[in-house]
Structure formats: C-alpha cells, structure tokens
C-alpha cells in the first residue's frame, strides 16, 4: 500500500491498490489448489510474517495480521473516497448496534478521523477541517423481551466503548426507538407495541421495525445537524437483503438499497463496509480485541431468518458466494439518489468542494421524480400504480392513502387489509411516515388522480 493517510485522496494511491489486487489473484488460486506449501505458509503480501487463520478461507487465511488489517481498512477507505462519503466539512453519525460490523465501522471511522486530525495539526494553512463523528445507539428494549438489567448492561458497555476511543471526542446518543413518536408523548412505548401488534405477519413486523429504526437514526441525525449516517452493513448483510428483497417481490427497488450511498433520506446514508464480508469483520474484532455487545434475539421464523440461513449454507459451500450475490445485484441500475448530492453551498470552503471527488460514479438513471412507498421509502415502479389504482377504486371511504401509495410488499406484509384495522394502524404510525405519505400525495397521487379524473364527481382533492 502506497499511502494510507486519510487525507491522501490522490487517485494514484488507489490505482496502485487495484494493481495489487490483480497481482494477488493468481496467488489466490495457487493457494486453493494446494501449491501454497511452496510459499512456506507466509503472508501472501509481505511474505515475511505468518498468516493468521481465524476463519475458513477468504482474505484472512492468506494475510498476516498487519496485512489483513491494512487490506480491510483499504476496502473501507476506498469505498469512502470513491463515493465521496465523508468530506472534511462533514459531521457523520455512526449507527452503532454493538455488533461486529458496526463495531468495525466505528473503529475505522475513528481511525480515519485520527489521521485527519494528525494531518490537520501538521498542516500550515489548516484549510481542511477535521470531520466530526457522533455515535447513535437505538435502544429497542421496549420491544424485545430481554431482561432490563441486560439492556442496561448493554448500554453501559456501549458507553464505555465510545468513551474509550481516543480523542477527538465523539458524542453518543442513546435513543429509545419509541422516541420517533413526538417526544412529549408519554405513552410512546405503548404506542410502539400497539403499532407492531397491528402487523400480523412476522416478516412484516421485522421489516417495519427496520424502517422505524432508520427513521430514528434520521431523526437523531437531523436534530443534531449531522450530514451523514454511516451504517455498518457488510457484504453478508447486503447479500441477505438482495435475496430477501427478491423473495418479497421488491426487485424494482432493490438496487436502491444496496449502493454505497443512499440520499433518499434527509441525511444521506452511506455503507462503507459494502465490500467487507462478515467473516473478516469478525476476525478483525477478535484480532484487535474489539469489544462486541450483543443482545440476542430469539430464533426467528420469518422470511428474513430463512434467507439468512440459506445464504449461510451457500457461503459454507462456496466462500465467495456472498460477494457474487452482491456483485450480481450491483449490476442492476441504481437510482439517481444513489450518490452524494453536489455541494452547491458557497459557504462550504472551496477546498472541501474540490475534494468531493467522484471517481467511479457515472451519471446513473434519469433524474425523473421517483415516488416512494410511505412505509419503506422504496421507489415505486409503474406497475405499482395500476395496482394502487385498483385499491383506490375499491374502497373509497376508508382511509386509503397509506394503502394506495404503498409498495405491494408493504401492502401485503405490513398494512392490515381490513379497513377498520388499517385505519387504526395508520393512526398509530409515527408522524414522519404520515408526512411522507402526504408528501407523496402531492406529487404522485395527482398522477393517479389524472388517470381516473373522468370518473370523479367533484374537483376537490381534499376528500381523498
């Protein structure tokens, strides 16, 4: 590796990095075929230290401890710089669950910040500020049924992990998930329970929770003026998402979820560990003694659970299967919001704006105004419109806006079908979701309306 400094973004370094990757390939195959013995079991990169063997195959079996770490950090750093995820004037919020993936992403963001700080201290003009880092933990103890002392212990551990990181200091936000209902609401817990209980499908319940978690993260981020939300989604996690989205019929919107950058949200979400398999992250945690806080959930009988055990079996059969799955899905056309929006703000220093490089980002897709599912925020395709048109015609009187504008997957697994239950469900939804539905109403509902215009007896839009 030519240069690992956080502020060295020159493309030369990365090209060099890629060349290394290519050169490594033949050695890899040799290793598999058993000719590795000729290398006398040395790290394939530095050829001086013994490789670590914490996992089964993969990068960790061929590298020594240092090279393994450098390589993993390199993948992270490459994702960050190629996609302009973090610029010096940013303030990033790391979503931290306590698991290995988010632990590693926290560590890497921290290391990157340390290097930026070092460079800042050393530079003369100090034109590039050091980006800020915050950590958010979404406390879901009100939903899960683990003992309260376990939850308290977990939060305690998370506090110590974050406070033990070297300066610059990182603010930690421990946010109960029920806070998405406006904060003055005392019975948030109760409402949360009711909302989830209104969803009868096990998978639907899990998915709704995921959407609500993202909502909480967005809320924390925007309230505290963060400019990015950093997720620890690793290759394995994304591979599972590819399969489960396919199984749920979300083939159209799938490509929106699996890119490095997702600017659908008020605060753009970035996935710098997209190229790192879970196994390598686990290895790093054990090598570096990174503390993990895990709150175990019971065995899950949902589609998501079935998918992850399926992917696990495939991965055991072929160690690169997860990467292949993510690579396949990566070939799908992304959406226009899968990039960091340009900085037009002239108050941002020019040096920062200039640094916003986009090496590999092609202008993707048309900039057509997409419409989004109010529940899961996935972009809707045209065939969705016709189905929502049908539901629009069939039950005119009930509170239809949620069902009519939702994607078919949410309609099936989250929104109750019975009109009275649905009304109740909609009344329980947190404000941001309702705002989103109404917002969609303005732009895209009118599109629906246009199609049925001649059959409507009044002109007012308020009735719907």
């Amino acid at each position: 590796m030519a240069c690992n400094s956080a502020t060295c973004n020159s493309s030369g370094c990365y090209k060099e990095y890629e060349v290394e990757e290519e050169q490594r390939q033949p050695t890899t195959r040799g290793g598999i075929n058993g000719s590795a013995t000729t290398h006398q079991n040395l790290c394939v990169k530095c050829k001086s230290n013994e490789p670590v063997c914490c996992g089964i195959g993969g990068d960790d079996a061929r590298f020594c401890k240092d090279c393994f770490k450098t390589n993993l950090y390199g993948k992270f750093k490459q994702a960050v710089s190629y996609n302009a995820m973090i610029t010096p004037s940013d303030k990033v919020l790391v979503a931290f669950s306590g698991g290995p993936s988010s632990r590693v992403v926290l560590q890497f963001v921290h290391e990157m910040q340390c290097r930026a700080q070092k460079n800042f201290d050393a530079s003369k003009d100090r034109s590039l500020p050091v980006f800020g880092v915050g950590v958010a933990f979404i406390d879901e103890s009100s939903i899960h049924s683990f003992a309260s002392q376990d939850a308290e212990k977990a939060i305690e551990d998370i506090r110590s992990i974050v406070s033990n990181l070297a300066p610059p200091e990182k603010e930690l936000y421990v946010v109960p998930i029920e806070n998405i209902f406006s904060s003055d609401n005392i019975d948030g817990k109760e409402r949360m329970k009711k909302l989830l209980d209104a969803v009868s499908d096990v998978t639907g319940k899990e998915d709704l929770l995921i959407h609500l978690r993202m909502l909480s993260l967005q809320r924390v981020a925007s309230q505290n003026r963060y400019t990015r939300v950093v997720l620890g989604s690793c290759t394995s996690r994304i591979a599972c998402h590819v399969i489960s989205a396919t199984v749920k019929g979300q083939g159209y919107s799938l490509s929106a979820d699996i890119q490095y950058v997702d600017s659908r949200w008020q605060v753009p979400v970035v996935l710098p560990l997209r190229d790192c398999p879970a196994q390598e992250l686990n290895t790093l945690c054990s090598l570096d003694g990174l503390k993990i806080v895990e709150l175990l959930n019971g065995p899950c009988s949902s589609i998501n659970g079935l998918v992850s055990s399926f992917v696990k079996v495939l991965q055991e059969e072929n160690p690169s299967r997860e990467c292949t799955i993510v690579r396949t899905a990566g070939k799908l056309t992304p959406f226009h919001f899968n990039r960091i929006p340009d900085i037009h703000d002239s108050s941002v220093p020019l040096a920062t704006r200039r640094r916003q490089k986009r090496h590999s980002i092609k202008p993707n897709g048309s900039l057509s105004s997409e419409s989004f599912c109010p529940i899961c925020n996935s972009p809707l395709n045209k065939s969705n419109f016709s189905s929502s048109l049908r539901s629009l015609q069939s039950n005119e009187n009930s509170d239809i806006f949620a069902a009519a504008a939702a994607c078919s997957s949410c309609q099936f697994q989250i929104i109750p079908k019975e009109p009275s239950l649905m009304e109740q469900f909609v009344s329980l939804l947190p404000q941001p979701l309702i705002t989103r539905a109404k917002h969609g109403d303005r732009g895209d509902f009118s599109l629906l309306r246009e199609q049925i215009q001649e059959f409507l007896l009044s002109d007012g839009e308020d009735e719907i």
Binding site: S200, D201, V202, T203, V242, I243, A245, T246, V247, K248, G249, Q250, G251, Y252, L254, S255, S301, S302, I303, L306, F310, V313, L314, E317, R321, T324, I325, R327, T328, A329, K331, L332, T333, G365, N381, S383, S408, S409, F412, K417
Partner: protein, 355 residues
C-alpha cells in the same frame, strides 16, 4: 398473512368459491379451501388468461409440446388440448419427445408419452440422441462417467428439441416449466452472477430471434397445483427420476423455495415479479449470434456447443468443451468443476436451466 392463519370450524366446510359443494382441498397458491370442480376451473382459467394476455398463440399456429412423460408436460398436453377445444384457439398441437437413450428411465417414460398420444389424440414425434448425434446417454456415461454427464445431456437436448420442432414444421414450442422452476432460475442466476440470463429468465416467450420460439404457459402455475391436478384427474404420467442424476431434485435452491412456500405461498410469484422488475440496463452486451460452421445450428462461436462436445466424444477427449474454455482450439481444458460428491445449489440439472 402467513400460512395456517385459518380459523378452525366444525362440520364440513363449503367451497369458498361456489359455496355449494364441500371443500376438499386447500389451494396451494392461495390457501383457499375449495372443491374439486372449482379447482379445475380456476386452474384452467388461470392458464387460459396467461395465454390470452401474453398472446402466446395465434390461430392456425402449429405448436409442439415438449413432452417428457413427466407431470408438468403431461398436464400441459392435457390442459392445452382441452383449452384449444374449449376456447377455439385454432391450434394444431403435437407432442415432441427427446429420446436420450437412458435405459430404465427414458424408455419407460416414452411409453407414457406414447399412451398420451392415444389418450389426447395428439400426433407424437420422437427425436433420439442416437439418430442425431450417434451416441446414446448410456454410451456417453459409459465413456465419461457420472461427472458432467448432465452437461452433455442438457446441451444435446436443447438442440434436439429445436431439430424435432423443425421436422414438425411448428411455429412454437411450449414447455412445461412451472412457476417454481422459474423462481428457482431467478435465484440461481443471482447466486451465479449471471446478469444476462437474469434479465431473460422470466420472459414467458424466449428465442423469438431464433428459428423456433419457446413459451411457458405454466409460468405462473405452482408445481404443487400441477401435481394436484394430475392427481385428481388421474392423469397418466411417469414420475421416476433420471438414473444418472438421482438427487437432482434436492438442490439448495429448490429446498429454499419449498421452505419459503411453506411460510408464504405468495413468495414464488413474488420472486417472479422481482425477476420481471429488476432494473437491468438493456445495453448489456449480448453475444453475437451466428451459425455453427459444422451443423448450421445457431451459435455464438465458430462451432456450436453440441458440436464441440460431440467432437470431444468422437475423438475420445470427452473433457473438450467442458468448463470455461476460451475459444475452440484450446483443446483439453482442465476440469474446473468440483467433484459431484457435494450437494449442488441447483436442482434440475437436466435441461431446465437453459431458458
């Protein structure tokens, strides 16, 4: 809603479609409890709608039904001839079978097809590997063993079906691929990273640029319902697995789909919907299509795959053309495939993957 959410009621339940007769079955696709007559009705009507909406056939078309004697093709032959009569499609239907030359498997299943010929009054054409290529599968397996034999069989069958269709002078071939097969193919193409096939595998009609297009009238029909239909109609079909690939049905992907179907029957249709809606840019490079210099069959290379494999067999180099070869003259390639001992991710290795 997940499965098994039905309330229990005492006494015989009435069919939830006609509300008159007693319900005797739970429809696999929707879990509705319905009677036998209504099941026939919805089963056939759905296929009719698929045919009409997708304009699979034109009046006067000559259609070959790829018939193996198994449940899918037997039900297809039965339902198509029924619908053709009922809705006046105006089709000339034929049965087209491929004889791979597998003793104890194909010879028996062909007997079934021959009975179907009489039962449904459809003319039958059988093309054999022996006639087309000079080799039976028995002879091929004797030479190359049980590894990669499915590659030979698959490549040869595809071409044999086209040649048989040409001999019958048909306009289209209808195959018995069902919704489970297509869902499985979508997943496999994701697992293998094959974006080109992923974009094609959910089309109901394929090969429209080739000599004879193929269509899949059972694209949305669940395997379980096909079995159920064949069972209630007491259709005569052959249900033994191929002796050279006895465990072909127990692939990971197939098992996964069955597990999914158990907790959410709709998942099979959802996978197909996903497959249809994937945002795949149309500019993906397609291999240029030419013709094989040896036999004239469509091929993107100098020789078609069947000719390469055949050349290997005849020259005593059976590994020629197997695995990833770059160009024809790269003679013997190392067999890169893993041994057959492990369970495969694919289930129907035989012929069902070449959409």
């Amino acid at each position: 809603m997940e499965a098994d959410a039905k309330p229990k009621k005492s006494g015989p339940r009435l069919c939830c479609i006609c509300n008159q007769r007693r319900a005797v079955l739970k429809r696999p696709k929707t879990l509705e409890q319905i009677c036998r007559e209504c099941f026939y009705e919805v089963f056939e009507e759905e296929i009719h709608q698929v045919i009409v909406e997708n304009q699979l056939f034109k009046p006067g078309d000559r259609i070959a039904i790829g018939a193996s004697g198994g449940k899918d093709s037997t039900v297809l032959a039965y339902v198509l001839s029924e619908l053709n009569r009922r809705h006046n499609y105006g089709l000339d239907l034929f049965l087209l079978s491929v004889d791979e030359g597998i003793t104890g498997y194909r010879d028996d299943s062909l007997e079934t097809v021959k009975r179907n010929e009489l039962q449904y009054g459809l003319p039958l054409k059988i093309v054999s590997y022996k006639d087309l290529y000079g080799w039976t599968m028995d002879e091929i397996v004797k030479m190359i063993g049980l590894k990669n034999n499915c590659t030979f069989c698959g490549v040869f069958r595809r071409q044999a079906l086209d040649r048989g269709a040409a001999l019958l002078k048909v306009d289209k071939v209808a195959t018995g691929h069902n919704a489970d097969d297509i869902a499985e193919t979508v997943l496999l193409n994701i697992l293998r990273g094959d974006i080109a096939r992923l974009s094609r595998c959910t089309s109901i009609t394929t090969g429209e640029d080739g000599p004879i297009p193929r269509c899949k009238p059972f694209k949305y029909t669940y395997e379980k319902e096909i079995v159920m239909y064949a069972y209630f109609k007491k259709l005569d079909y052959f249900s033994t697995e191929c002796i050279y690939s006895p465990n072909a049905y127990r692939g990971f992907a197939r098992e996964f789909i069955k597990d999914l179907e158990r907790i959410r029957p709709r998942a099979i249709l959802d996978i197909i919907t996903s497959g249809e809606n994937f945002r795949i840019s149309t500019s993906t490079k397609m291999p240029e299509q030419g013709t094989c210099e040896r036999c004239g069959y469509i091929s993107s290379q100098k020789w078609c795959k069947a000719c390469v494999l055949l050349e290997g067999l005849n020259r005593g180099l059976p590994k020629l053309g197997i695995g990833r070869s770059r160009g024809l003259n790269n003679d013997i390639k190392k067999d890169t495939k893993q041994g057959g001992g492990t369970k495969s991710i694919e289930s129907k290795q035989c012929g069902s993957l070449d959409f």
